[in-house]
Structure formats: C-alpha cells, structure tokens
Subunit: 344 residues, 2 copies
C-alpha cells in the first residue's frame, strides 16, 4: 500500500505535543492510507505516548523525526526559519520539501514562522505574486466563508488581491465543492465606488477576472453567508477577523458573568444549555480545520495556536484531502491563465 504522508509540527501551539498526538491518533485510526511524520523532541514524544497511554507506540504509520529546538511567537520569523535548523517547524518543512510523497504540513506554531517557512522552504507556485492565508469562518446560514487574506500580506497591490480571489476560488471548489463561488471585495459599503485607493483600483480589474465577482461588501456581512469568499489586504482582513473573534468573546464573557451574578438567569441557563452548546458549536472556528497557506508549492495548513486534538485531527484530514486534490495545479493554471494589464 502506498501511503500519503502528512508532516505535523509536534511542538507548535499552546497544547503541544499532547493534543497534537491525540489528533494524530484520531487521524491515523480513521484514514488507513495516511502516514504521519511528527517532528519534535523524539524521546519526550515517545515517553508521552507511553505515559499517557495514547496507544501510538506500535503504529508503523507514525514516524518521529528528532528536532530538539522550538520556534516561539516572539522570534523574528525570517531569522528563526533561517537559523533554527533543528526546530520542529524547520525540520518539518525540510521533510516536506525533500520527500515527494509528503503531500502536506500542519502546524499550530507562530503564524509568521509558518508563512515564512512555507515561502522560503516550499516556495511559491510560479506566477503567484503573493501566497495568501485563507481561514474559513462559519456563517449565519451554516455555510463557510473564506477570508483571503487574513494577515500574510500587510501592504498589497491590486494584482495580489486578484490572485487571492483566484486562489480562494479554487480552494472553495476543491475543499467544499462550491460551484462558482461568490467572491466579494471587503470595503466600507456595497456600492461600486466605495473604498480606499486599493479597493477602488482592484474593483475595476476584478470585474475582468474569470470568477463569480459579486462586488463590494461591508465587514458587517462577513458572517452573513451571502458570500463564499471575501478578498482583502492582509491588514484589513486581519482586523475583520479579529474584530469578529473579539466581539464574540466579549459578548459571551458578559453573558457568563451576568448569569453568574443573577439567580433567575442561573436557572434560565439550565434550560438554555442546549442553545449555548449549539451556539458554541456553530461558531467553532476549528470545525473546518486550519487555515491553508495558498500559493505555495505544497499544502501548508496553519492551525490556531490554541488548537486541541479535534482541530489537529481536522487539519491533518484537510492536508490529506487537499494534498491529493487538484488544488496546486488548478491554482497554477488559474493564475497563469489570466491576461489583465495592471497599471501600478
């Protein structure tokens, strides 16, 4: 049997390596032609497997590659990727790059380091101006929405946003089977002329792309379910994403503390537990796995730093599926197939 290899950074994220291992276990048990390469402190990992009774010690489809070093969130991503050659992330990228049968990498480590590693070690797809970090968010209608970019590219030109739209369209098709995904441009109003310089210029070019461009949208409708893809520069996209997360947390925080301090509400909460459970599930940003870094030559999935077993499992499955899909080739032909003259 030929195995599909997914590389997992064993020491990325707040809950590594235990939750990483639990996620790997679930993936291996479910997908029988999957092989996982985990990078990290091999002895520690092995001891943890025994100590916690994870039952992974005899798995032939799990390989541990020793990587004694760790890249933290506080380091300069470029310096870390270039110098920390013994880190779990760099070792993982090296494996991904050097092994043809390795189809993807999953990491919950420093976003900057994962992006820089993908860019420097795996490399851009030829023709792609800038790779894009494209998380998937839940919406009111239960359908996913892809936000491209969410923070990989701070200052953008129109050509970058056009490429984001093309790449995210291919991702929506390959990952969710969405036909003709609706692409909108993040702006300050839905009218054609609204926005900053970048949005106004991009709008005109976007109309010429072979995508289903539905026009400008407002940040208030990000979670409406009216769009499959929202395109933005990485700064604005990051602001939108984090504002949503922050409001959600603030609101649930206020609810929680209010309920705690009012007896009637405490009683009410007992009856409403189902509602809150469904709400949390609906808004679980991990239900769709991690955020793919689209535009690099192999599948790279960045998980949230606070990821737990379920999220690692979803992300490994995502890398496994995308790695076997047509995504990279279709991004390449999309990006290289357009013929738009851009004035800079």
């Amino acid at each position: 049997m030929e195995y599909k290899k997914v590389v997992v950074d064993g020491y990325g994220g707040d809950n590594a390596p235990l939750e990483v291992l639990k996620g790997i276990k679930k993936s291996l048990d479910e997908i029988h032609d999957l092989k996982v390469i985990i990078t990290g402190k091999s002895e520690e990992v092995y001891n943890l497997i025994l100590e916690k009774g994870l039952g992974l010690e005899n798995y032939a489809r799990l390989e541990i590659i020793d990587a004694p070093d760790i890249i933290t969130n506080d380091e300069s991503p470029t310096v870390a990727i270039k110098t920390k050659t013994e880190s779990s992330l760099v070792k993982g990228f090296e494996y991904l790059k050097n092994n043809e049968d390795a189809i993807g990498l999953v990491s919950a480590g420093s976003t900057g380091a994962v992006l820089t590693g993908g860019f420097l070690k795996v490399g851009r797809i030829k023709g792609v101006s800038r790779p894009v970090l494209a998380p998937v968010l839940p919406t009111m209608k239960g359908t996913p929405v892809i936000l491209a970019d969410s923070g990989a590219n701070m200052d953008c030109k129109p050509i970058n946003l056009l490429h984001f739209a093309l790449m995210a369209s291919r991702y929506a098709e390959n990952m969710f089977g969405v036909k003709n995904p609706r692409v909108a441009l993040l702006s300050v109003g839905t009218e054609d002329h609204k926005g900053n310089d970048l949005v106004k210029k991009t709008f005109e070019y976007m109309k010429e792309l072979p995508i289903n461009f539905v026009g400008n949208m407002e940040a208030r409708d990000l979670l409406s379910g009216d769009y499959d893809i929202v395109v933005a520069d990485g700064f604005a996209g990051n602001v939108a994403l984090k504002s949503c997360e922050g409001t959600l947390q603030t609101l649930l925080g206020i609810l929680k503390s209010d309920i705690k301090s009012h007896t009637m509400s405490k009683i009410g909460y007992l009856f409403m537990k189902g509602t809150f459970k469904r709400l949390r599930k609906n808004f679980d940003y991990n239900q769709y796995g991690g955020s793919p870094f689209l535009g690099v030559n192999k599948i790279v999935v960045k998980c949230h730093g606070s990821s737990k077993a379920e999220s690692f499992y979803q992300s490994i499955k995502q890398a496994y599926n995308l790695g076997q899909s047509n995504l990279i080739q279709s991004i390449s032909s999309s990006v290289n197939g357009i013929d738009i003259k851009i004035e800079e």
Copy 2:
C-alpha cells in the same frame, strides 16, 4: 436669558421626522437654556406635532426652518451638498455657519453628506490635516472607547493619524472627563514592529506626541476596555466597527432563532430576560450619543441612521455640552502645538 442654539436636521435618518421631534422634546424639557432649530418640511413638521400630540406647538425654544428637499444615502455627498441648497442638511449647516450663537448641529442623515457638509460649510480648524469621525463604543468594563477614524478618511498618512490621536484625546477629556486617556494604534499585533507601512511609520511619530500612547493593539481588544482611544485609518477603522456590529447582530440573531425553535430554551429565556436586557443595554451604541466629527470649526454630531428619540436626545445634549466646552480651542492648540518633522 441667553439661549444655546443647537441645529437639528429634521429629515435625516430612517425614523425622521417623528423620532427627531420626540428627541427634541425631551432635550428641551430637560435643558432650559437650550434652543433647537429644526430644518425640514415646515408644514409637515408642524402638522405632525399637532397630530401626534407632541406638545411642541407652543414652545418658544423651538424654531422650524423650512427646507423642502432631502439628501438621500444614494447621492454623491459632494454634489448633494453643493447643489441641494434647499435640503434640510444644507439649510442646517448654513444656519450653523451664519449664526454665532449656534453651537452645534445634529444629523442622522447620510454619513458622507454630513462629513462633506461639515468640511465644506463649517470648515476645518486651522492646522488640522483631516477631520475625523470618532464614534464611542461600549466596552466590557463599562467604560467607553473612542474609535478615530471610523470612516471619514479612506487613505491616510501618518500626520493624519497623529492628528486623530490628538483630537480624540481632547474629546475624551472634554466629553468624558478622562484624564490622560490611553491611546492605542490599531494593528495586527501588540508588538512594536507589527502592522502595515502606515502603522509602522505612524508608530514612531506617535511616541513623540504629548499623549498617553500605549502602543499597538489588536482588533480583538477593541471592546476590552483596556484603551480609551483607538486610532486607525478610516478604512481599517470602519472594518473594525462594522465587524463588531455584524458579529453582535449575527450572534443575537442565531440565539433568537434557536430559542424560538426549542421549547426548553424558550422557558429558559423567560428566566434570563434580565440578562438579555442588560446585555442589549450594555451594547447599545447610542448610549453615548452620536459620533462627533472632530476637527471642524463647530460641533457636528452624526447619529446612526436608525436612531430613535433617545439617541437624538443624547446627541442634542452632546452637542449642547461640547458646544460650550473648550473642545475646539483645545484641539486647535494641540494640533498647532506639536513640532514633529514627518517624512512623507
């Protein structure tokens, strides 16, 4: 007795003119040296006062100025302000400009038109590079946070953001009595080097300003209560503001429909009504009145398009208070008092 005159656009917003009139009534009954000038279709307004029994027909402190035309949200703000000379908004701005004892204007009309009107009719304070629209949002700690800019200036330079910081600091002092307000720069992380080009450049200059600059902040902490003022370009600020509003609406919408379709939750809701009431009150964006347009020569307050009586009342009171405060002079001396060399 010398009256303080506040001009109110009688035909701005979704609920004009009835809710505008109700708000005026409350203001006049509470503030005894206030005189309100309302602009709009005078006959219609007068008939409405009688028909609805608003009790305003004999108020000497209410003056109706006839303005048969209305500026809508769909029009180009600049064209509308220049050509619709008989509109309620332009008539209001003309009154504000030509009468020394008129201290402020309140409108729930088209944001673009209110900003353009303020800029063209009332004029900038000398030295201010760009006026700023600075709404006040509620936070988790119950304190307000001022967002400057929220959408008046799409493309900004560092000097604009520095002026926003200075003007909002003076506003926080005058409006809320906050001493040494904490100013943060909206970015994609709290670290000094994070952000796009604009933020990185502005950060360096911001440190030199005579304000309480606390560094970069992330959009997720906008409602945390850890900052009194958040400074951003109008595009990013608008994205943050609308993402918060949108998430809040989405979340409450999902809660509502879930409660409706589950009997247990319906029962629970009866016990939890107090919690939801307090939540809505805490997140009521109108509790602090409207958004001032800082940097123009008189007080201009923009109310939300969906404003009701309470919000008009709050905004009129806000204009009345700010119009008598030291705000305009202190903005002028702040902005003209700094000596920072900016490389463009």
